[in-house]
């Protein structure tokens, strides 16, 4: 369901693996090495995990279409010292059992690795019920969550392994649309490009919206940063890049609810007068349309043309 085929596909080779494929492979490999790891499913992707479930029936658990139980079971597993990986479609992983995330995970003082598929509107033709652009904003109301938004399947394994090794609550947001090339996934923001002299400002692209962001800003002399990790937010990295620009102006491009990280940008730049424009999924109205993910991107101003227009309006010379 990529918006852009990966280079391998263009060359006529086997289609690149999806983020979900890579997720299943990475978890399955780890189950064989780490008897602390467990998987909890609510039917979604149960087929993909069937070989793992056959091999480790005590640690690959499908509770059926019961998302409250899915999170509660994960909390209980964590209470016994296991590291649960919990997986479903975004709205059924984060929104439907949200109080379970707050109470059965967070309030118990335990962690889990939540891995969603579907992003904001991968299931564009399925309608609002299968879309959850508010997922990261919701988790932002809970303390302690780390949030990763990989932009390419090759970024997924390192982020997952890091999450497996941690005790923290971690959310990994997988999506169909990907960037054409993987980027570094180490902590913090990563430079994508900058002009020869001081730039007019800084663009921060999160996860799978990097390609259209780079295309959209074109030859505008701005610094472009990328991150697949929005929590913790690399305030120092952003402030440093802003400090090198002519103006403390930041264009934030996120693939979920617009402005989800605006408060983090504001905190990062609290020492300097600054301007911020946030692009993302509109908060103003429910988009009652089906169609393709690309059409939804355009409707929310997340296509290259709209991002470019916003950048040219926003940045001062």
């Amino acid at each position: 369901m990529s918006t852009r085929p990966a280079p391998a596909a263009e060359n006529g080779e086997r289609p690149a693996k999806t983020m979900r494929d890579v997720f299943v492979e990475t978890v399955t490999a780890r189950l064989g090495e780490d008897d602390r790891l467990a998987v909890v499913l609510a039917d979604i992707s149960a087929d993909s995990f069937a070989p793992a479930a056959a091999r480790w029936p005590d640690r690959v658990l499908n509770v059926g279409i019961r998302e409250q139980a899915m999170i509660g079971v994960a909390g209980g597993l964590a209470l016994t010292g296991l590291r649960p990986v919990v997986h479903s479609y975004t709205p059924f992983l984060v929104e439907r059992p949200f109080e379970q995330l707050k109470i059965s995970i967070g309030h118990q003082g335990v962690g889990a690795v939540l891995v969603s598929i579907g992003g904001s509107f991968d299931a564009s033709a399925a309608g609002r019920t299968h879309q959850a652009p508010g997922d990261v904003a919701l988790l932002d109301t809970l303390p302690g969550w780390r949030v990763h938004v990989p932009g390419h399947p090759d970024e997924v394994p390192a982020l997952l392994r890091d999450a497996f090794d941690s005790e923290d609550p971690v959310y990994v947001r997988l999506s169909g649309p990907t960037n054409s090339r993987p980027m570094p996934v180490g902590a913090g923001v990563h430079p994508v490009r900058s002009g020869p002299g001081p730039d007019r400002g800084v663009v921060l692209a999160v996860g799978p919206v990097l390609d259209q962001t780079v295309e959209g800003v074109g030859d505008l002399d701005v610094t472009v940063l990328y991150t697949p990790t929005v929590r913790p937010f690399d305030a120092a990295g952003l402030a440093e890049a802003v400090g090198r620009a002519r103006h403390a102006d930041v264009l934030l491009v996120e693939p979920y609810l617009a402005g989800t990280s605006a408060h983090r940008v504001a905190s990062a730049l609290e020492a300097v007068p600054h301007r911020l424009r946030s692009l993302g999924v509109s908060r103003d109205a429910e988009l009652r349309a089906y169609g393709t993910p690309e059409e939804h991107m355009t409707a929310h101003g997340l296509d290259a043309t709209s991002i470019g227009r916003a950048a040219r309006e926003f940045f001062r010379s």
Partner: protein
């Protein structure tokens, strides 16, 4: 299995006095707390737990899901040495680890934080599954109320535990007939239809509770419905000082 326990000078007869440290009310019908007898039997005779083993992997797990009105729980924990009885008198103050709902991060020996209803049973299922995966032969007991069963999350967990045959799991439902719409046909049947072993006993009869709580057929989780006086009976009009009408129903 050897049952670990700690000897304290406190007995069942001392529980009302311990509860009164929290209520400050000599007339309070302390013993009327619906959970008091079940909690006592569990901690005195059934669970393999003790204050010096609160982190031991092989301890039994008791999860108080019905976190409302925890005075009986705190009193039993104090009687069994998990709490200093002197901690009871200033409960629910800013610096006290004891609130109107228990918090596992503040009280060693408390397995879960509860208060929001319907979390304990799914957590207990996960705990039972985790112990099974780790090869730890401990049992898991979770206590709910009859009104708490209104929460749909319980029914997700009841079905999952039954189908997975989690025989290390026991649910105790303290039934004081407080569910607004009742449970026509009985509570036990809600579990047995999903494959659980069931028993319904007098929630004030310690020997009956003990027998029910220690009867565990292989391959099936167990439910013990502990029936006590209906909540609004005249003898039991007094409940927790912090109890609201809405909470009383729970």
């Amino acid at each position: 299995m050897t049952k670990h326990s700690t000897t304290t000078p406190w007995e069942y007869a001392d529980l009302p006095a311990l509860v009164r440290r929290m209520t400050g009310d000599e007339k309070h019908h302390s013993a009327s707390s619906s959970t008091l007898d079940v909690l006592w039997v569990l901690y005195d005779r059934v669970l393999d737990v003790s204050p010096d083993r609160v982190d031991a992997e092989g301890r039994d797990r008791f999860l108080l899901s019905k976190g409302h009105g925890p005075m009986a729980y705190y009193a039993v924990l104090a009687a069994k040495g998990f709490l200093d009885p002197d901690q009871l008198s200033d409960w629910a103050t800013f610096g006290s680890p004891l609130g109107y709902h228990p918090d596992r991060m503040l009280i060693p020996g408390v397995e879960i934080g509860s208060g929001s209803l319907g979390h304990g049973l799914p957590l207990a299922v996960g705990t039972a599954l985790g112990l099974r995966a780790r090869g730890i032969d401990s049992r898991v007991v979770v206590l709910t109320g009859d009104a708490e069963l209104d929460e749909g999350s319980n029914h997700e967990a009841i079905a999952v535990a039954g189908r997975l045959g989690l025989d290390r799991l026991t649910t105790v439902v303290v039934d004081n007939a407080s569910a607004s719409h009742g449970w026509p046909g009985g509570i036990e049947g809600r579990f047995t239809v999903e494959g659980w072993h069931g028993a319904t006993v007098d929630g004030r009869d310690h020997d009956a509770l003990y027998t029910a709580l220690t009867t565990r057929p292989a391959g099936r989780p167990s439910v013990v419905v502990a029936r006590v006086e209906p909540f609004d009976a005249p003898d039991h009009a007094h409940q927790d000082p912090a109890t609201t009408t809405e909470e009383r129903a729970r």
